[in-house]
């Protein structure tokens, strides 16, 4: 048994930090936070140039052939720094699905330019009437010769306004049982039948509702079999659930520690205050656990096992942890804690106030905490279904 990540790991982390020092400028961070779009084409292309779009993919497919733990190391550092990665994340999720289930033509037409940083792909799973119960999708796709005609709405199509395609789950046969009449497509977003309407969220992130009115998608951009969409989604959702919030938590604790050692001009004194010390020690411990749970998933991946339950645990634990921690840190800051980052007197640069809003979303997207607990109970512990 070995917990060390090896000397190569430290060198890699140093490399990522150098990269971030150069490319993740304070101006970029401010622009992203202000605009709410957690994607930046310059930063994205810089990552691509570095080979860090798909570092775990084989070299012949455009990756660097890195083992999963190195891939995780890169992701940990990027998340911890707050780099804008949402567009990369959804694009790579779809690329991963296509790598396994796509046609040769799709790999050429979509995966290649995606890995080259030329195109972006958004996710179109949720609908106004279906979220956690994603298989209840009602958006229709009807065949018309070599094309399909799509009608419906998708919620939370994050980065649709920057993206070229939406990875869309549609009902192609309403007469079949719920899970059986679904098909997945890559719907081109820059067409007349698609309307993108912005949604502003609690943490300032921009996402979108996308409306599909006789939008057209060539059959060549269908993924998987007709009415075989649920099998495709199963692969896709497994990738989605690996999103954990450990890096955000680490950044949050660092901001609080900066505040605590920085003289705390207006907040409470952190010296000799056992309540502050206890919260810091607890957060550091929870963050270590989040990191270990995520690393376990990556390690399982590296030895060829699918981290299903383990991924759910990493996601559940880290998102609930940042939700608890951010609320408690606001409390520790007292009345100063609710100042936002626009306020020049905000402690910890307003990171804590922002994290309290941001954290609420982490227990929702990528599978709610309730969905994760059900997966852990049934698949992990073998408890009976309800």
């Amino acid at each position: 048994m070995e917990f060390g990540l090896g000397g190569g790991h430290d060198a890699l982390v140093d490399d990522v930090r150098r990269f971030l020092g150069e490319h993740l400028t304070p101006e970029l961070l401010a622009r992203v936070r202000r605009g709410g779009t957690y994607h930046d084409w310059d930063f994205h292309r810089a990552l691509v140039a570095k080979g860090w779009m798909a570092p775990g993919w084989p070299v012949e497919l455009g990756g660097q052939g890195r083992p999963p733990l190195e891939v995780l190391a890169i992701a940990e550092e990027l998340q911890r720094a707050g780099a804008p990665m949402l567009g990369l994340g959804t694009t790579m999720l779809v690329a991963s699905v296509l790598r396994h289930l796509g046609t040769a033509a799709q790999k050429e037409a979509v995966v290649r330019p995606a890995l080259a940083g030329e195109i972006l792909i958004a996710l179109g799973f949720s609908e106004p009437e279906s979220g956690s119960d994603v298989a209840a999708a009602q958006t229709r796709a009807v065949r018309d010769g070599d094309e399909w005609v799509v009608n419906g709405q998708k919620m939370f199509t994050t980065n649709a306004h920057e993206a070229d395609y939406a990875f869309l789950l549609a009902r192609t046969d309403p007469t079949l049982p719920k899970h059986r009449g679904l098909t997945t497509f890559l719907v081109p977003l820059r067409q007349e039948g698609v309307e993108i309407r912005p949604i502003t969220t609690l943490s300032g992130e921009r996402t979108n509702i996308t409306f599909y009115a006789d939008a057209r998608v060539p059959d060549a951009l269908r993924i998987g079999e007709v009415n075989g969409g649920w099998e495709v989604m199963t692969v896709g959702l497994t990738y989605e659930r690996t999103s954990a919030a450990g890096g955000d938590s680490i950044r949050l604790l660092e901001a609080m520690e900066d505040w605590a050692v920085g003289g705390t001009p207006h907040g409470r004194s952190a010296d000799h205050d056992e309540r502050v010390h206890e919260a810091f020690g607890r957060a550091a411990t929870e963050n270590e656990v989040s990191v270990l749970l995520s690393r376990r998933s990556a390690w399982l991946d590296s030895i060829g096992e699918l981290p299903g339950v383990e991924g759910s645990m990493a996601k559940l634990f880290s998102s609930e942890a940042i939700t608890r921690q951010s609320a408690q840190f606001i409390d520790l800051l007292g009345p100063e804690g609710i100042r936002t980052e626009e306020d020049r007197g905000a402690p910890a640069r307003g990171e804590v106030e922002w994290a309290y809003r941001f954290a609420q979303g982490t227990t929702i997207y990528g599978g709610t905490s309730e969905i994760q607990r059900t997966i852990i109970a049934q698949r992990g512990l073998g408890l009976p279904r309800g």
Binding site: S132, T200, T201, L332
Partner: protein, 337 residues
């Protein structure tokens, strides 16, 4: 013991409910977020005697009890009122108790002037994060020597905050408009803080109950996996816990307000208890209601985020619950020692 409001109290609640339903819709609350203040609501409140009622008969008020004000504060919280009603009432009562000049008291009672109160002692010549200070005319501050009434016009810097409250940092370098010294002034100021805590507890209760209603409504209609999500224990049992905490907070905040006349020896402790417990209950209701709404809860377009942000922010203006509990525990031990 009689937990039913009196006939007069029911009338009072109904009158203010009607006012808030008209003048504090969530559209109006959203429209006022930039300043944290809705002048139309304030006019309506002043017109309805919202401040005047808090003053004793001897000062031209209608002599409402703190419990009457608490019932109104519940309505205020339920409708997320963008107006400093609690601060105005508490500081009007304080100024009157301090013996403030009658014309000023009359202006304040009529809502022509808005007063507020600094909840924490100032440091380095500044009172930080003073509630309502961006919209009030003057603030009552307790420093080492006395209670001072300080004009706000040129002394304030806005504080951007989670709850869209009109907070300001207030510089205290100008001469005060009036000062009130002596032990009794201090005691009056302490009473005002107790009143602020009790009334804010009630506002948080109203806010929390409405957040819970939003969650119940959503969970009753929203379907997933072939059933309304409120039929799943993971949702239902959380909401049951929130409902229990809010019922407890309702009883406790009303008892605290009642105690200012009914049991003065416990009034200060009960106000602190009510504040801390209501703050936690409202926060939990806000967070869980937001969570139950799934992705929609995270959209600014949905109302639940308005409650979520204020549940945390309205309480934090004074203190986190933990420090208040610590103060209560220390006092209890000091009494026993």
């Amino acid at each position: 013991m009689d937990l039913n409001p009196s006939f007069e109290q029911r009338q009072l609640v109904e009158a203010f409910s009607t006012l808030y339903r008209g003048e504090s819709t969530t559209e109006r609350v959203r429209a006022a977020e930039a300043t944290g203040f809705d002048p139309g609501l304030w006019e309506a409140l002043a017109g309805a005697g919202g401040v005047e009622m808090a003053l004793p008969l001897r000062a031209g008020g209608s002599g409402a009890s703190l419990l009457d004000l608490a019932l109104v504060a519940e309505v205020h919280g339920r409708h997320l009122g963008s107006a400093p009603l609690v601060e105005a009432q508490v500081s009007a009562r304080l100024l009157e108790r301090l013996g403030g000049a009658a014309p000023v008291v009359a202006d304040v009672a009529a809502g022509r002037q808005i007063l507020t109160v600094a909840l924490a002692p100032p440091g380095s010549g500044t009172a930080r994060g003073v509630p309502a200070a961006m919209v009030a005319d003057a603030v009552l501050v307790l420093d080492d020597r006395c209670v001072a009434l300080v004009g706000l016009a040129d002394a304030r810097t806005p504080v951007h905050n989670l709850a869209a409250l009109p907070l300001a940092d207030v510089r205290l370098d100008a001469d005060p408009l009036a000062t009130f010294g002596g032990e009794e002034a201090r005691r009056s100021f302490a009473t005002a803080l107790d009143e602020w805590m009790a009334l804010t507890a009630s506002a948080l209760v109203g806010l929390g109950r409405r957040a819970l209603e939003l969650a119940v409504d959503y969970a009753t209609t929203r379907q997933a996996f072939g059933a309304p999500i409120g039929s799943f224990q993971a949702v239902a049992h959380r909401l049951a816990d929130a409902a229990t905490a809010l019922d407890g907070a309702t009883l406790l905040s009303r008892e605290a307000a009642w105690a200012s006349e009914g049991d003065p020896a416990r009034a200060s402790d009960l106000a602190a208890m009510a504040f801390a417990f209501a703050a936690e209950a409202a926060q939990v209701a806000g967070e869980w209601s937001l969570h139950v709404h799934g992705g929609y809860g995270f959209m600014l377009e949905y109302d639940v985020q308005l409650y979520f942000r204020r549940a945390k922010g309205w309480a934090a203006v004074y203190s986190d619950p933990g420090r208040v509990y610590a103060g209560l525990g220390a006092r209890a031990l000091a009494r026993r020692a």
